[in-house]
């Protein structure tokens, strides 16, 4: 397991579970996604940053940022920001019941999926309490190191005979103000409803969008709530 560097300026490791969950509502966490193919000496890897507030989650890659907002009626609204162009595309909230699970967005792995796994070990207390889970599905072994009170993935791996994918937590920060400022920065981008793109081919940015699709599961979609691997790697 890789070393986890936590910025614990605001969070005491001895905090109660409830207090820890409360204090970790605002998160900026960097992750590395690696893919190791058997026989290849060098693993492919890329990084993304998970940002979250109580009702927003963002996955920030090099160019693109995917944001999900949890609405008052529990619908999830996706927004995709293009950082270079400082533009955004807004999508309609998902309405099909059960199609999306907020915990998948919020903590990268859903509560439902964790419930299917077997707890193999548990260490630490308070905010540093970490649980180790395992699930074997056919020829695939999935392992999870779970910071249960912070609702953060510490590490996860999906191992097959020829391919191993890992998701590893790097630095974490819980400072509310810079996190809110980052969301405000993206929010200031000029946005367009996807429904309006078809009427705006004269806009070079939107015309380019005509030829782009939207991948609903980004790096966080390491696998879905059914444990189905999504191919690994960050789509950004």
């Amino acid at each position: 397991m890789k070393t986890i560097i936590l910025s614990l300026a605001l969070i005491s490791p001895l905090a109660s579970a409830a207090q820890c969950a409360l204090d970790s509502q605002y998160v900026q966490a960097s992750y590395q996604v690696s893919k190791q193919v058997a026989g290849k000496a060098v693993a492919e890897s890329q990084q993304f940053t998970l940002w979250r507030t109580p009702h927003q989650v963002a996955e920030q890659g090099i160019e693109l940022v995917e944001v999900w907002q949890q609405l008052s009626n529990q619908q999830i609204r996706p927004i995709r920001y293009f950082q270079t162009q400082q533009r955004g595309i807004e999508y309609q909230p998902s309405e099909v019941q059960g199609q999306q699970n907020w915990s998948t967005k919020y903590q990268l792995v859903s509560d439902d999926f964790i419930a299917k796994m077997t707890l193999t070990d548990e260490q630490g207390d308070g905010c540093e309490k970490i649980q180790h889970y395992q699930l074997v599905q056919g020829d695939t072994t999935i392992e999870l190191a779970w910071l249960v009170n912070q609702k953060l993935v510490s590490a996860m791996s999906i191992g097959k005979a020829q391919l191993t994918q890992t998701l590893t937590l790097g630095t974490v920060d819980f400072k509310k103000d810079p996190i809110q400022q980052q969301f405000a920065l993206w929010d200031a981008y000029q946005t367009t409803d996807y429904a309006d793109i078809g009427d705006n081919e004269g806009d070079p940015f939107l015309a380019k969008m005509i030829n782009l699709g939207f991948i609903e599961h980004g790096a966080s979609g390491f696998y879905d709530t059914n444990g189905k691997a999504l191919g690994g790697g960050h789509s950004h």
Binding site: E90, P93, A195, M209
Partner: protein, 615 residues
Amino acid sequence: MVIIMKKLNLISLAVVVALAGCSDNDKNTPDPVTPIIDPVPVPIESLTVENTIAVGSEQCINGGIETLTGDDANQNGELDADEITTTSLVCNDSATSLNAQQLASLTTNTWYKEAHAKLASSQDNIANIVKESGKAKNVILFVGDGMGISTVTAARILAGQLQGKMGEEHQLSFETLPFSGFAKTYNVDAQTPDSAGTMTAMASGVKTDVGVIGIDEAVIKGKCLSGKGHELVTSLELAEIAGKSTGLISTARITHATPAATYAKAANRNWEDVSDMPKSEAANCEDIASQLVNFEKNLEARFAGIDVDGLEVVMGGGRRHFLPKDARYNSADAVSLVEGDRTDGRDLTAEWQAQYPNGQYVMDQAGFDAIDVTNSKHIFGLFNESHMQYEADRGNDIAGEPSLSEMTAKALDVLDNNEKGFFLTVEAGRIDHAHHAGNAYNALNDTIELSKAVQVALDKTSIEDTLIIVTADHSHVFTIAGYPKRGNPILGKVVAVGETEPTLAADNMPYTTVGYTNGGGFRDLGEETDADAGYKFAPVTGRVDLTDVDTQSPGFHQEALVPLSSETHAGEDVGVYAIGPGAHLVTGTNEQSFIFHVMNYAADLAKKADAKVTN
């Protein structure tokens, strides 16, 4: 008709009387004299059959009589084929006139009779139409955004099938209007248009560039100052100046291109609020939402001497363009964490309320239902943060929102309080969006809802004083293809005439009747009633096996030939349908700008407005 004529034969009933000899048993008893009837040869009848030859037959084009004769050798009373000995044919002379018999095949035919009856009503319509200028006290312009001819046809069939009919014979409400024609939709600079240019043409009588609202073609798109002095006057503005009540309804954002073209001037259709404008442009021009709220003030500033009372009815979506970018202003059904987009801190709903203290601002179904139509002079309804829901998806709206037909009814109840009449524009804005998403289900259901709204208007107004025009701003690349049998579900797979299973294409897979030339293509989202949900997936290229897919479900998105993330408009003409004073002018193929002139002629808008300005 077959006539059998029996000739009277000479019957030889030879009766032979013979003296009988003694019987073998009683030779002594003399036999009485016994008449004996010989076996008589059966009489053979000679038969003649006359057949009437139908008009149009190969033997006699004008009909005639075929006479067959022969002996009834087998005595069955009929002249069988092998008994015919002579055939003669007498054809009728060439017809010098048509008689009932000759036309019977037509006049007894249901299609013929129904079309004939329509001819009579069409003649009545022409005879009764008010042709004189200025006789339309009220004008209602319905616009189905993106409602091309194929959309109308498919929606007609779906509407009929939803009523248990085969579908093809059905008529949407506006298809019953007595006058119709075509509009050419191209923009000044575009073969295939957008809504901004097309609605500007309809509203102002002047074609302009794509993406431009209410300004002529001299404007440089996105350059605010280039449009100064080239702003157009719209039919809605003329009606307002003339003293009529004015109203505007859309299921899209009320600041979207089509509704905006009735009241705003913008060098870029996307300048819906100040945050959408570059600072350099915002410094010199007013955003579209602000122009809506300041409609009365701006009009009075533009034309000297007028005293107008503003738009009486405004209902649609687009709340985000009227609220500050501040979560404290969020409405109950916000779909963003911060609903408002305005970066100038203005709350335009509050500004509107300050201008019209007795007006009612509503944002949900409950507020809409509570509107007092008798005493309310001004209504401002913003029912969604962005576009209103698709008609089939309204149930999923958080706070609830009215349908297009409900808004139309409410608007008319308010607008008809003015004895000088009213001018109302109604847009079914989401037909276009469903097509862009490649989802025929929602496009057709929103078209059917438009049909209901038109019916509401027909029911609430009089042909004597109200001109109603129904049209579209442009078409979409939506097609009705293949050879499905009559009554085949319009959203289903093609099943050929006489068949029960889907026809297979050359790739051995079934295909749907309706489809798109381009767009996102296939999605199978089941019961999802929001067409825009399809945008969360990349375009699908190539064919998909639809064998086990329910293509009639709300969430099915039709296959597309050219993969694009958003389906596009199409450049063909659109239909224009009309009833009421001046409706007879809607005929033939015209530039889209002609529609303004029909409305202006029918209601004398410019003339009446001019009288107000000069006085």
